[in-house]
Amino acid sequence: MASRPEQTFFADPALDRALAMIMTLAAELYVTRDHVRVLETLLVSKGVLAPDEVERYAPDPADAQARSADRDAFVRALMANVQGHQVSKGVA
């Protein structure tokens, strides 16, 4: 079937597409939240975790350092996009 343009609702059609990405991400986020909650419930019911153990988790120094590095990398990968730099040599 030939590709057909989707209906648009906003003055700038970029918003239509960006909102579709937001809603897809929100739906996936909810699916993940649901899974994490089920995992915690099962782990508690099987005696692997105490209730609220994840929420109260305090990492030891080595794990805290690994977590910090992971968070920094995540933030950098996200935020670097706002600078609009080319990452390879090319035409502006």
């Binding site: 809603m23 909810y30 699916v31 899974h35």
Partner: protein, 352 residues
């Protein structure tokens, strides 16, 4: 949990929650702003086009329209949408649909060609439509459960319609045109047990599901046949009730006129035609919202149905006592304090 797994359930529950918010919050706030503007007296809004002029650049209306369009798209499509989520279960579901049925319960017509008006558009944004794929009926069934999220049980309105029919008439031989997967037919054959019921539809995948459900319920007073509502192939005067539910708005006016003529032919003298469908009243905003829904939900024949003179269309074929009455799909749905979005349900009643 459904048979399609927890991720599917969570995804669809998220979409349903968003649809409920749209139904209860976005629609009423748009309607309130329209009413307030109308009361201020400017601009004069006498037609859906006037409302369109007023709202076409409105940001709240843009979000309202976007969510109506795309929550439905997401329901059917995407990683956990209805169509792809059924794919891993194809073999099991196909076996269920092809299970042996009691003799005479289902009559399919492999030579039937669906009318172009039916195949040209994927109604409800259901990719491939309700006629093509073998699982289309199963997908449609599951999708129909969340189209109008405020209905407490998805069968509820059909039972209310059967109760309304019972208030008019005690039918013995019923034909349910455009019966789909049997959602409207089931309350007829389960609640009117001394009546015999025939369900007619174009879609073989839908009819297979309807028949499988009737077989599992051991229903003895129903059968299903694949045919069009305009040309059922049934004998003249063989029925005392011709009914349909949410069928007329899926057909262009010439096909509806053919359906009315066929209904008259099928009925014995004194028999009734009773159709449940959507007819927005003359309020410009209500009509604007309804026509907008039609565009956003791939329902091209809703506006022309709304513009038809259904009373004249019936009397032209010989029907008498034609009435068009509002229908309340859930208790209190038409009460003034219900501010949520709803379909403009209406029933067309005519006597031969």
């Amino acid at each position: 949990m459904s048979d399609l797994g927890r991720q599917f359930d969570a995804y669809q529950a998220f979409l349903l929650g968003a649809k409920v918010f749209w139904t209860r919050e976005l629609y009423p706030s748009l309607r309130d702003r329209y009413r307030a503007a109308s009361e201020r007296g400017a601009p004069a809004m006498r037609s859906p086009a006037d409302v369109d002029d007023w709202l076409c650049e409105d940001l709240d209306y843009a979000f309202y329209g976007w969510f109506e369009r795309h929550l439905q798209r997401m329901k059917y499509s995407g990683r956990l949408g209805l169509v792809p989520a059924h794919e891993p279960h194809r073999e099991r579901l196909t076996d269920m649909l092809n299970a042996r049925l009691p003799e005479g319960l289902l009559e399919l017509d492999p030579a039937l060609t669906a009318p172009r008006y039916f195949t040209a558009v994927d109604i409800h944004q259901h990719p491939g439509g309700v006629c093509g794929d073998a699982l289309a009926g199963v997908v449609y069934d599951r999708g129909a459960r969340t189209t109008t999220p405020l209905l407490s049980k998805h069968l509820d309105l059909h039972h209310r319609f059967v109760a309304m029919i019972g208030g008019e008439h005690r039918p013995q031989r019923i034909v349910d045109l455009g019966c789909g997967f049997g959602k409207s037919t089931r309350p007829l054959y389960t609640e009117l047990r001394d009546a015999s019921v025939l369900g007619i539809d174009i879609s073989a995948p839908c009819l297979r599901l309807a028949a499988a459900e009737a077989a599992s319920g051991q229903a003895a007073n129903v059968r299903y046949r694949q045919a069009t509502a305009e040309d059922t192939g049934e004998p003249e005067a063989a029925f005392d009730l011709v009914t349909s539910t949410m069928l007329l708005h899926e057909m262009p006016p010439p096909a509806i006129e053919a359906l009315i003529a066929e209904s008259y032919r099928l009925l014995e003298p004194g028999g009734y035609a009773i159709h449940l469908d959507f007819l927005a009243d003359d309020d410009p905003f209500d009509r604007f919202i309804h026509y907008g829904h039609a565009r956003r939900n791939n329902e091209p024949y809703m506006p022309p149905l709304n513009e038809m003179d259904l009373t004249s269309a019936h009397t032209a074929q010989g029907f008498k006592d034609v009435r068009i009455v509002p229908f309340e799909e859930t208790p209190g749905a038409r009460a003034p304090d219900n501010r949520s979005w709803r379909f403009p349900w209406a029933v067309v009643i005519a006597r031969k």
